[in-house]
Symmetry: C2
Subunit: 328 residues, 2 copies
DNA sequence: TAATGGTTTGTAAGTGCTTACATTTGTGTA
DNA sequence: TACACAAATGTAAGCACTTACAAACCATTA
């Protein structure tokens, strides 16, 4: 069943059928009706590949992220997919895992599939890595990074002002005489770099030297955080507040410290479902994911219309105070 | 840049280039090398649409789910996508939202895009709805349902024995003289139906009549659950244990009851990250999502090789006991 | 009535690949 | 050296659509 069958059965040429299929205005209403009738009756659907060949696009957009299993990314993927869907585009999802090799492959795959654009969710690529493959891909197709940054032509970034948010937070804690703030993080993404920069900014405001022993990498799961906290205490590393680069890290610390009987302000990041589910409820910095997505998708729309767009947009991040902030 | 260019530059015909591209054994090693050299030098990648046209497949699989934002589905999507990727297939993701109309459209879209298979995650379609569109789609392409069931030719289902798990749970609670078990659920999916059936089974074991006032629908967010619990108590509906059809429902109940000062066994479903993040940690029935995915994907592989596979597989679900179970 | 110009339709040439079949090349044997 | 046969390569016909351009149609207007 192809366009020739439909053309024959409705007594027109394939060009006319194609026009009907593509909502061309140059078809007489009566003709259009007749063709549509046959299409309905035969249950015909045009072949997507042939269409892609002819039009040079299958109206698909690639989404890359390190893992959809992470609720934060899942949230973003959900946003992005939904927006695309509403705009008649569809999403090819490809998760990458953490290695550069996988990321490279994923990007290559997407360009091979002739997607109309690529959205990178989360800072899966870092400014300081070798990004020649991104540069190459960006020449073929617009690339949008949500919550990450790489300064390359053809690459459009939307980030959150996490640096300022952390700086403000540190300032607030300092004012409460919490001067030994433990900062837990996992992979050193762009976003993470910004947070640490904010931490240092905050300390600098008060001319306090930064104790690097308080900036601690740890795997993003409760057990790892628990072990980490215990180890720090055994090692005699003292602290009087905790900031986690992800809610799960902060939550792990909160659980661990409560078990030990210690009480102090604890702040997470991303304001995920987890934050409200915790007991006591977790204070968290909301990096405005939804807003970032909206802006990113706006940029994408602009680019798809072949217009120019701003290469880097920053949205504000803000503290959402809950019980865990007020502890002493 | 197309296959003709490569053919010309390497002094062979397009057929030979195509053979090199498709790893055909009928190419002399020296010729293959020469062609590959040109391909590398020119940075050529074959056009995916043209390939799809010729081969009748772009090696893509559709994933449908109601929402990736839900961590449970995100988990499943992650599994499925990863498996595909390892097998050289890629995923088109499409979320549907709850309405039948959207689900229908999503299915139609997928068949139009000529995917090699469709995976439905979660019981987004119910046995008792009008499933003619699924039947139609299943004639064109294999459909796999993970954690849902529809008895139709061409539709392959993998479910979890949630019915038995709930029945066992009810039995265990009854033995502890908890006979008024509140069951909270949201959308009435196949999975949810099974859970309720298990609830009834358990009551039947003890010849206890089921009080339908204890089977309560509620939106899946903390506030809604909190309101619901308070409303029930005000209405004088008494209960001495809570089972949530999702962890978030159980967790909402737990928080609500703790606030009020009530203490009772609380059990959730899916054994999500949430369960371990709760305080006290939430007991949860693990429906073996990972195992379901693995089996489903095995079935899919079998089908893609044009072999026959079992139409319905059931994996066991099991209770993961944590603190919230032992309360009184 | 014929010329004009706009609308509708058709023809045919892409789009870039796969693959059946024909042809050429190469190898080993008599 | 000629022959048979297999391996390597090429030719050309798909695959199902889009679209530039040409042709036909129709309603005005002079």
């Amino acid at each position: 069943m192809n366009i020739y069958d439909i053309a024959e059965k409705s007594g027109v040429s394939i060009a006319t059928v194609s026009r009907v299929l593509n909502d061309s205005p140059n078809v007489r209403a009566a003709t259009r009706e007749r063709v549509l009738e046959v299409i309905r009756a035969e249950g015909y659907t045009p072949n997507a590949f042939a269409r892609g060949l002819g039009l040079g696009s299958m109206r698909m957009v690639g989404i890359l992220c390190t893992s959809v299993r992470d609720p934060f990314y899942a949230q973003a993927v959900g946003h992005v997919e939904e927006h695309f869907r509403r705009n008649g585009l569809n999403a090819i999802l490809r998760c990458t895992g953490p290695t550069t090799e996988e990321k490279k492959q994923a990007l290559e795959y997407m360009t091979q599939k002739n997607v109309d654009a690529i959205v990178l969710i989360g800072s899966i690529f870092c400014e300081d890595e070798d990004n020649s493959h991104i540069a190459a891909a960006a020449q073929q197709v617009p690339i949008i990074i949500i919550n990450g940054h790489i300064d390359l032509p053809g690459v459009y970034c939307v980030t959150s002002d996490e640096r300022k948010a952390v700086c403000d937070l540190v300032e607030a804690l300092f004012r409460r005489h919490k001067k030994r703030i433990l900062f837990l993080h996992d992979i050193m993404t762009y976003s993470c770099q910004q947070k640490i920069a904010g931490y240092r900014d905050g300390c600098a405001l008060f001319d306090e030297p930064v104790d690097d022993a308080l900036i601690v990498p740890v795997e993003r799961n409760l057990d790892a955080v628990n072990d980490c906290i215990k180890r720090l205490l055994v090692q005699g590393v003292s602290f009087d507040a905790v900031v986690g680069a992800e809610d799960i890290l902060a939550l792990g610390a909160q659980k661990s410290l409560h078990r030990i009987g210690l009480n102090m302000p604890i702040i997470g990041f991303n304001n995920s479902t987890l934050a409200r589910c915790a007991t006591p409820e977790l204070t968290s910095i909301d990096n405005g994911l939804e807003q970032m997505c909206t802006i990113a998708l706006g940029v994408l729309d602009t680019l798809l219309e072949k217009k120019e767009a701003s290469r880097h947009t920053v949205v504000p991040a803000k503290l959402v105070e809950r019980d865990s902030f007020r502890a002493n």
